[in-house]
């Protein structure tokens, strides 16, 4: 075939010499999101506090000696008011509240992260199946999901922990299971909107197998709402863990879980309110930080808010 229009052909095949600006090549989705996020002051404050808390949680063993600083009983120092030596005071067994709060970050963060990971993993798999394969599978998954979410999550947590025993892992498991329904729902909704896109049909036409399409092409397109949900879910998992520990069903004593510290300080709430105020503040700041970060992520991942 000959070409009547030589210039047209050179436009099609000879674009080599057109220089491409470097910054263009580097502008990935992740960078755009991080850039949007960095402009959100609340989210950055939240992220900073979370990083500090995670740092403390990881290095708690290096900073503190568990046997003496955290659980060591010292009756002569009991119920001291906050001072320079004990910034948050001491409890009825003479343990430093500040040290216990620092060490307690370990439980709260790990329970939050692990419980959310459990809920996320199971929830996303079932949500993807329900969203992708309509029909019987979807009906069964969604109805079971409705049943599970109809049970109040604290009640569900109490049942699971009482059945399996009060250990840290069972606490994570219980909170993880109660967070599954939300992940199922949010994943299914996003998968439903992605599965009918033309590029999915195009992948079938290029001979890709169904599980691969779901795992590598459908799910990555559903990530934004799932990431936001996971961040916000960590915050509620921390509250749930504290609530269960408050009820004596969480991390076993004498480990310094914030919820169980609240519970122990309850009887001194009139005379020594600092026993409950400081662990409560710790929970509040941590949850607030995760919520700020989650809100910021949601805005950063929302293309409609892009400037």
């Amino acid at each position: 075939m000959s070409y009547r229009n030589e210039t047209l052909q050179s436009q099609i095949t000879g674009s080599k010499d057109i220089p491409i600006p470097k910054r263009y090549v580097r502008q990935t989705q992740t960078r755009i999101v991080l850039h949007n996020l960095s402009k959100n002051k609340g989210a950055m404050v939240g992220l900073f506090i979370i990083m500090v808390i995670v740092f403390i949680a990881i290095f708690a063993d290096v900073l503190l000696d568990y046997e003496t600083d955290v659980v060591g009983i010292n009756i002569s120092q009991r119920l001291l008011r906050p001072s320079w030596k004990h910034p948050c005071g001491t409890d009825d067994l003479g343990r430093d509240i500040f040290y216990r709060i620092l060490y307690g970050a370990r439980f709260s963060v790990s329970v939050g992260v692990v419980a959310t990971t459990i809920g996320l993993g199971i929830g996303v798999i079932f949500g993807a199946i329900a969203g992708y394969y309509c029909g019987l599978a979807e009906d069964i998954i969604m109805r079971v999901n409705d049943i599970v979410s109809a049970v109040p999550s604290i009640l569900m947590g109490i049942v699971i922990v009482s059945a399996l025993g009060a250990t840290t892992f069972n606490l994570m498991l219980a909170i993880g299971i109660t967070s599954i329904p939300q992940f199922v729902r949010i994943t299914r909704a996003s998968v439903l909107s992605v599965r009918n896109q033309e590029y999915i049909e195009a992948l079938y036409a290029s001979g890709m197998s169904e599980p691969r399409i779901i795992a590598f092409h459908v799910l990555p397109n559903c990530l934004s709402p799932i990431i936001v949900q996971a961040t916000l879910r960590i915050a509620s998992a921390i509250i749930a863990a504290s609530s269960l520990s408050f009820l004596g069903l969480g991390v076993p004593v004498p480990a310094p879980e914030w919820g169980s510290m609240l519970s122990m300080g309850r009887q001194y709430v009139r005379s020594a309110s600092y026993l409950t105020i400081f662990p409560g503040l710790a929970i509040l700041i941590t949850v607030l930080s995760f919520n700020l970060l989650g809100d910021g992520l949601r805005d950063a991942l929302d293309p409609k808010l892009k400037k």
Binding site: M1, Y3, N5, L8, Q9, Q11, I12, T13, G14, S15, K16, I18, I20, Y24, V25, Q27, T28, Q29, Q197, E198, Y199, E201, A202, L203, Y204, A205, S206, G207, M208, S209, H217, P220, N221, L223
Partner: protein, 337 residues
Amino acid sequence: MEERKSLHDPVLEVEDLGVQFILENETINAVNDISFKLRKGHTLGFVGETGAGKTTTALALLRLVPHPGKVESKKIEVCGHEVTAMTSSQLEKYRGNDVAMIFQDPMTSLNPVFTVGQQIADSIMLHQNVTSAEAKARAEQMLELVGISANRAGEYPHQFSGGMKQRVVIAIALACNPEVLIADEPTTALDVTIQAQVLNLMKKLRDDRRMSMIMITHSLGIVADICDEVAVMYAGRIVETGTLVEVFNHTKHPYTEGLFNSLPNILNRSAKLKPIPGLMPDPSNLPVGCSFAPRCKYAGPDCTCAQPKAHWFSDTHMVACAAYQREGFAIDRPEKK
């Protein structure tokens, strides 16, 4: 051109293909008993209005007809393989490797979360036993081939214009050297100057690789530009098929005539367009006789009682019109030399 004529073996042969969508209260007959052949290196154009069953035919060739659809056929043979008998793993090998498809809207046929280079490399790695580095290098070559500089392989689809996206889609489709390329209205979403670029590119690549192509389009201009053979579809049937010259210059079917009459004439710009009156019949309730009869100005009582039989004017030129059973029948459109 000489080489292409000498290869007479069809790479694709379809006999009596029908697609029905069976719903609760009605059955939609999207495609009814169509048969066609495609020879190596040739391009077959499917023309017809919206809802004529062109895309459904193409999807049936890949066995991708969506859920309530039921495909019946005597034969769908591509490169010597019977498509209807394939297992799902054979199908995965066949799709993209033997037959590739380009979809209508380039804006939505690329995955927004992967770079274009990754998407081309993905398609190569699916069908060929290469390392990811090799696939990446091949992907960059493919980009160069369709006229996009290789250093843009790391960019995401939203950073490309519509015409460039369609070229990326072509690169993905051609990455594994398919025998047959199905192009489903590849230029409908593009403006005319970009259409010309994309069509020229497709022609060039088709000739370089001696690919066969099925071109689905509304535009008779694109058919004239790119196709060797034409099949005119109406209400799920092929009403006229033949070589480009036969269908365009020796038009026989009243519907094809109507299509040509509804085009504006560049030599007589003030002339009114003559659209075909009426609408296409409801595919869930097709007439017993010729589907076009209610809109056809030549229709007689013989047209409405039974499906028109195929009338062959030459080895390649077929018309499904009962009026040619009458003595001395001819349509108004004059034959061209």
